[in-house]
Every structure is written in structure tokens, then in C-alpha cells.
Symmetry: C2
Subunit: 479 residues, 2 copies
């Protein structure tokens, strides 16, 4: 970490983000334009996200597998919306083993096509359904404007792909996965997201319906945090995924896909971070607690480090992820700033007086300065720490929810919408027509983020055209 | 599973392997030549391998990260041996986002170069060392003759890359990782491998020294199961990885790399499998136990399934990975064969009489027929099962070790070596000259697998040229 201060979020949110990602050593720029390296601190955060999701996927009957990263270019062309959406973004391999390839290959931008091809081979009968497979991998999309975690040429994600006997089952799966993402976002990432349906113009290339989670970032812009698609029979027809039903009739399958990527790390940074740096939710933080020993001479050092070792062991036994900062070349003050910047939820300070008194200082990352400090007994310290981590987790969620609510306006007319999207989310009746959506986008730079699943009922008038409207939608500027 | 029998290993080992991989649903051929899909059963095995290794990597201070899959072609050319080794095998991306790229990119065949580039940026001082990073990913090498798991265009692996201040530290790291692989192979995979040093002609393109584990397969050929390389300062010099030492002098780093891939799954199949199919070591098996209920009517079914549910719950609580085969459309006999083919280490059979008597039948996969069956009480069943899984694990190791020993000949002269490599490993004095190694390869098709770390001491005469020799080496035909 350099000693330079980050820009404040109010000064330059964009630059605050970029510098923070680099200084906290979450990620770095690769030598290839638009690619990123996820550094160990960032990758450990991703591993914790992976575990939190993978546990939920497996509990609902999904299994993992691995499909190849090279796909025949012709596969992408088999589903008409898919090819329109992805053709402009492909990375194409034309040379292999020193020779020009007769059939060029693309690096997967997503795996519906190759998986569709294999499912067609594996699925014969209703007995083979459902197929519930997920994979953790990376994909490549040739993006022009890139930003670490939010939009990179290569990004890391999971992509679930399922095949079912009926529309109803596929829709239930699509919604189940959205629920799982939302539970993960709320419980583990402390992010209050809005689950909803995308408009036709914003849905996935090849989907019948796309659902997403939309979350409000610290600059009050929206971030699409993950998606779950009901693909209908589009890919089943393009790749001939068929099964014999119980009556002996050949039927096309119904398929879904759903994904959450390293983009979600961007959401965690931008939802919780403050002007000092990251604030990581305890359930996902690589280190939940950092212990900073304080001493002036060898004698004090011996006493303090003895206590530090015992505390560390006690916390590890309790299943808490702990870092002890034993660096000799830095002052405690420097270390405090460093770990605050890196977002460790809780700091334990311990000096010779604390050792003598049998106490430690706990400093909460989510409450800077004196307000977040408490002096606690070393007795039952693990229990005290666990309790406080739980409080931090809850307080981060509550704060993000209050922030979103206070920056969301239920608008009555277009003028109000225009004002609302200047500083947050607009929640407005919309008639469902793409033309109104398009005009709003042109005139305000706000896009239709989603039609929230949770609707007030009743009806009103479209915020743009004043025609009758049954549903309310979220409009906002977005990443 | 089809009802067709596998060829026996004696009839056609190669075809036994190929059919088994497909029928056990470990992997399948991708539509792109030479690529594979690792199916859920195979991937779960790989996840268990990953966990067993990752735990050991982290316990020795390593952290995971993710580097990009796209590398500038020019990077590969910076280290002279590296470019010679990998140039013929590259997959080259020449088109991105619809436009021809000015600088072509390659899909990583391995990541020494891109990681070297980043380490040069991250490492400044001796305080930044050592850097101990691993990544789990896939790499692409344009192989011409491919075989599922053993050699595919894309394969899945981990690659560790470390940077150190001294040669001694780098060498210690290289050896430590070989030890970790060997402990994993012996303890978790029940594979008795030979840790040793590769000859110069067999070492990694860019390494000073390559160590490997060599294991004997069921057809008595050798398989290189993983490697650990001391890269000296070769990549440090090519990529300017330098640090200021404690005296303020700029020094080049010393680096290592080490990897184990999905090839190891091939080793597990070929070391333990028999004519009925796979035999998976209990510590890595996706399912350690399969429960097959036996009943003839609804009444019996109710009683049996009640007991099955309780047994299943009891085993899961004890941390045992259990599959219950509840398929209605298959007979118990069919299920027995199916799960034997898939290599589940232990089967529990339970019918109405067993329910009445409070017993179950346990059938060990490693001992076919009556010899492997026992009737045990349902009291303390989890403990009985755990104990038996431990015995199976040990017996697989012992059997593989005995097999290797009985098929390894300590040769006194070249005639003996020629006979030995027809049916196993030759263990022979070798003078260290590449010319002798090359002649042996030409004349016998056996390669120098490794110079085992464990040496008898003393000295003898080279098996080929009869010159004095200090070390013994393993010669064998290999995958």
C-alpha cells in the first residue's frame, strides 16, 4: 500500500474505485488490453463467494462439470438471437499447432451452445431429466470499454445449465436460482438487491425471459449483479435436445441458464466501501479479524506476542478467519490504515497494558473512529468476536437497504422520473412498450433495470406515454 | 450404462480404458477434436482431488489467484527453451471483436511467462519474497494424438508459481511440493509413486531441474503423474524479476513451478481398475458407499426403504459420502454391476430379511464375489463402514505397491533391461549421458522415467555403455 490517500467517493467515485481495487491488491491490469489478474486477496474473496453459492447449488441437487473453452464457430450461429448478441464479441482461434484451422474456433463467451450439443447426446428419455449441471470457469467477450471486475475481456463466473421435461419445471428452476442468488446476496454479501424481470430489450440473447438482481451502488447507480434465464425451447430446438416422454412421444426439452460472475466483487466494493477503502461483509471477508500487536521494546513485544498467539489460536478454533500483522517495519498506525483500506471487518489491538488487564480493544471497520471502538475482556473473546461480526454483517445490510430506500423515488410523472434518475432509482409505472423504454433511455440515460417481482398490484399510467400500465419498473443509470 | 461387457484388460487395455471412461460417465469427447468434457461423476472426483491438494497447499503458506488465459505471443518467445518447447503446440487468437489483432494472442499452454511479467511488477524488495501463488485453471496444448484424461488439447490442472530470494529456497520449495504430491498420491489416491529427477532431455522447457512422480499402470507402463520444476533464474532473467536485497543490491529472483492435472484421474483408473471397471480409492471417491435396496412388493419396499433412510442419515452424519440407488426400473443385480463398473468402494445391500434381523450385507469393490461380502449388524454401522473404507484404502495401496515391485527388475546388463521393459520397469545404473538414454529409447521404446530420489548409494556400470555410473534410473515404456 502506498501512503497516498484515495480520492473521496464524492470527489471521484470512478477513480476511488479504480485506485482501491489496485491498492487493496484485489486485482491488477494484465498486459493484454482489458484482461485482469485477480490477486490472492481478491481471489480468496471469490473463493468464499464460490463456497457460499456452491453449497446452495449442491443442496438443490446440482452437480458440477467442465465443458471445453473452445467451441466451433458454427455452434454460435445455430440460435438466431444468440448469434446476433455474441458475434461482435468473439475471440477467434484461427491457428492451432502451427497450422491454419479449417473450421475456426471461438473461445466460449458463454456455454449454452456447446452444452446444448452435449445434452442432445446425453438425453434420451424422460428418465434422464432433469439435468442440473453447473460449471465454474472463465469466458471471453471482446468488450471495448473495460473496468476491473465490472467488465473485462475475460471474466470468472459460474454458469448453470439445466434441461427439463416441461415449461413449468424450467420456470420453477429459473426462479429458484434467482431466489438462491438473492439469499446469497442478502445473507452473505449483505447486499439488499431487487429481484426482477428484464425487459425484452435487456434480456439475454436467446432467452424467453431473463431475471436479474439489481443493486444500488454507493454512487446511486444500478449494477446488474447476476442473471437467471428461462431459455424456453430455443436452444433445445437449435441443438435438437429431445426426450421420449412417458407416452413414447419425442419432445423438445425446456432449458435454463444462470450465472454470477466476479462482477459481484465490484458490487461488494461499491455497495459497502467508504472513503477509507473497502468494507467487506464478515461472511465473505478473506480475513474477518486482523490482530495488530502494539509494543515499544523487546520485553513488551514478548508479552504482547504471547497473548496474540493465544488469541489467534482461540479464534481459529472457533472457525474465525484471522490475520496477525507481525510486520516489524510498520507502525501500528500504518497497519490500522492499511487493514481499514483492505476492509477487514474487525481489528483487535493489544498492547502491554491490555495484556496486564486481560483486555483487548476491538475496532469495527463499519464505524470509524472512537464510536466503533470497545474495550472488552479476553474471557470468552471468541464469542464476543463472533457476536460482533454478526452485528457488523447485519448493520452493513441495514445501511445499504436504508441508502437504497432513501435514494429511490416513486415517481408520478416523467418530470419526477428525470429528477429521480439524476440521483438514484426511479420506481415508475411502465406500459411495457419498448418505444417508451427507448425514449426514456435516450432522454435520461437511465435504462429499465427490471420489473421487480414484488409488485404493488393495482394499476397506473405509464410514466412516459400515460397509457394504462399494470406493472412498476425500476429505471436508473447503470454500470 | 449399456449392458455390454467391457473388454478385459488382458484382451485390450487401451480399449478397456476408453470404454470405461465413457461408460462410467467420467468424461466424453467434445465436438472439437482432442477436447474433452469432464462429466459430473469425473468432475466430482476432480473436486475431491482439488480439495485434498488445496488443503495441503494452503497449509504450507500458498494462496490462490487467477491469471488471464490470453498471453501475448511475444511473451512465449522471451525464454529460449520455453519457446522451443511450446511454440509447436500453441492455439493462436488472431481475431477479436470482429477485427484482426495487430499482436496475436495465445491461449496459455502454461503460465510461467504471464506470471513472470506480473511478478516483475509486484516484487521490489526482499520483503516481498517469497511469493507463493497457485491457480486452478485449464490450459491448451495442440496435441496431435489425444486420449481422454491422459492427453487432451485442453486439460484441467493447478499450476503453482513461486519466487524466492535464493537458490536454496527455490530448491527446497520444489522438493517440498514433490513431497506434497507424493503424500497426496499415497494417502488419498492409494498410488505408490516413485519420486525422482527427470533427465535433461525429459525436463520442462525452461527448467534447471524437473522432478516428477512416476507410477506403474495396470498394463505395467509408466505414467508421469505430476511435475515440480526448479526454474533457476531462467524466467527471472527473461522477465526481469528482481528484488533489492538487505544490502541494497538488485538481485534476480529464483523461481519454481509445479503442477498436477486431470491426467491424474487417468492414473487412478489405470492403477486400481479391474475387468469389472473402476475401483476408486475411498478417500477420493464421489460416492464412498452405495445402498441398494432389495424388495419384491410394496410391503417389502416400505420396510426396506424405511431402514435405508435411517442408514443413509446415519452415514451422512458420520461424514460418509453415500448414494442410495432408488431407481425403480432396474433390478438389484443390474445396479450391483452398474456401481461396480463405476468403482464405488463399498456397497450396502439390504432386503426384508436383513431388516428383520437388524443386519446388512457389505460388499467390498476391491474383493469381487463372495470373498468381499460380509453380514454385519446395523448397530454401529457407520463405525463398521468407516473401518472397512480404511481397510479398502490400505489394501488398494498395498496391492498397487506389490504389483509394481513384482514388475520391476533390477537389471545387471542391457539384455536384462530389454527383457524387463517388455513387461514392466527396469531399474538400472545409468551413466547420465543423453546418448545412452537416446539409444535405449530407440532400441527398446523405453524412456528414462526418472532417477529416483531414493538411491542405493555405491556405484555400478551404465546399463548401456558399461562406463562407471553413480545413479540408478527407472526405464519404462510410458504414456
Amino acid at each position: 500500500m502506498s501512503d497516498l490517500k484515495l480520492p473521496t467517493r464524492a470527489e471521484d467515485f470512478n477513480e476511488w474505485y479504480n485506485q482501491l481495487v489496485l491498492r487493496a491488491e484485489l486485482a491488477d491490469y494484465a498486459p493484454v488490453r482489458g484482461c485482469m489478474i485477480v490477486r490472492p486477496y481478491g481471489w480468496t474473496l471469490w473463493e468464499n463467494i464460490q463456497q457460499a453459492l456452491d453449497r446452495r447449488f449442491k443442496a438443490t441437487g446440482h452437480v458440477n462439470a467442465a465443458f471445453p473453452l473452445l467451441i466451433p464457430k458454427s455452434f454460435i450461429e445455430k440460435e438466431k438471437h444468440h448469434v446476433e448478441g455474441f458475434s461482435p464479441e468473439l475471440a477467434v482461434v484461427t491457428i492451432g499447432g502451427g497450422e491454419e484451422l479449417q473450421d475456426p474456433l471461438v473461445i466460449r463467451p458463454t456455454s449454452e451452445t456447446i452444452i446444448g450439443h452435449m445434452y442432445a447426446k446425453w438425453i434420451q428419455s424422460y428418465r434422464d431429466l432433469p439435468v442440473l449441471i453447473n460449471q465454474w470457469n472463465s469466458v471471453v467477450r471482446w468488450e471495448l470499454r473495460t473496468k476491473l471486475f465490472l467488465r473485462t475481456l475475460e471474466f470468472f463466473w459460474q454458469e448453470g445449465h439445466t434441461a427439463h421435461a416441461t415449461y413449468e419445471e424450467a420456470e420453477a428452476e429459473t426462479r429458484q436460482m434467482l431466489d438462491i442468488y438473492n439469499d446469497f446476496a442478502a445473507t452473505d454479501a449483505a447486499i439488499p438487491a431487487i429481484p426482477g424481470r428484464k425487459s425484452d430489450s435487456e434480456k439475454f440473447a436467446g432467452a424467453d425471459v431473463t431475471y436479474s438482481l439489481e443493486a444500488m451502488m454507493g454512487d446511486r447507480k444500478a449494477l446488474q449483479s447476476c442473471t437467471s434465464h428461462n431459455l424456453g425451447q430455443n436452444f433445445a430446438k437449435a441443438f435438437e435436445m429431445r426426450y421420449l416422454d412417458q407416452q413414447g412421444t419425442l419432445q423438445h426439452c425446456w432449458t435454463t441458464s444462470w450465472g454470477l460472475s466476479t462482477r459481484f466483487i465490484g458490487a461488494i466494493i461499491m455497495v459497502h466501501g467508504d472513503d477509507q477503502g473497502l468494507i467487506l461483509p464478515p461472511r465473505l471477508a478473506p480475513f474477518q479479524v486482523v490482530i495488530v500487536p502494539i509494543y515499544k521494546n523487546d520485553e513488551e513485544r514478548a508479552a504482547v506476542m504471547g497473548a496474540v498467539g493465544k488469541i489467534r489460536a482461540e479464534l481459529i478454533v472457533a472457525g474465525i478467519r484471522v490475520k496477525t500483522d507481525e510486520r516489524e517495519s510498520f507502525s501500528p498506525g500504518y497497519k490500522f490504515n492499511d487493514w481499514e483500506m483492505r476492509g477487514v471487518p474487525l481489528r483487535i489491538e493489544i498492547g502491554p497494558k491490555d495484556v496486564a488487564k486481560g483486555t483487548v480493544v476491538l475496532a469495527r471497520r463499519d464505524r470509524p473512529g472512537k464510536e466503533g471502538k470497545s474495550f472488552v475482556s479476553r474471557d470468552n473473546l471468541a464469542a464476543t468476536v463472533e457476536k460482533m461480526l454478526g452485528e457488523i454483517q447485519k448493520s452493513l445490510y441495514d445501511r445499504a437497504l436504508a441508502f437504497r430506500k432513501s435514494n429511490t423515488v416513486e415517481t408520478n410523472d416523467y418530470k419526477e422520473l428525470k429528477a429521480a434518475v439524476e440521483k438514484g432509482f426511479a420506481y415508475s409505472y411502465w406500459c411495457g412498450r419498448a418505444t417508451c423504454e427507448e425514449k426514456i433511455k435516450e432522454e435520461t440515460k437511465a435504462t429499465m433495470r427490471c420489473i421487480p417481482l414484488d409488485q404493488p398490484g393495482g394499476q397506473g399510467r405509464c410514466v412516459y406515454c400515460r397509457q394504462p400500465a399494470k406493472e412498476k419498473a425500476i429505471f436508473a443509470r447503470a454500470y
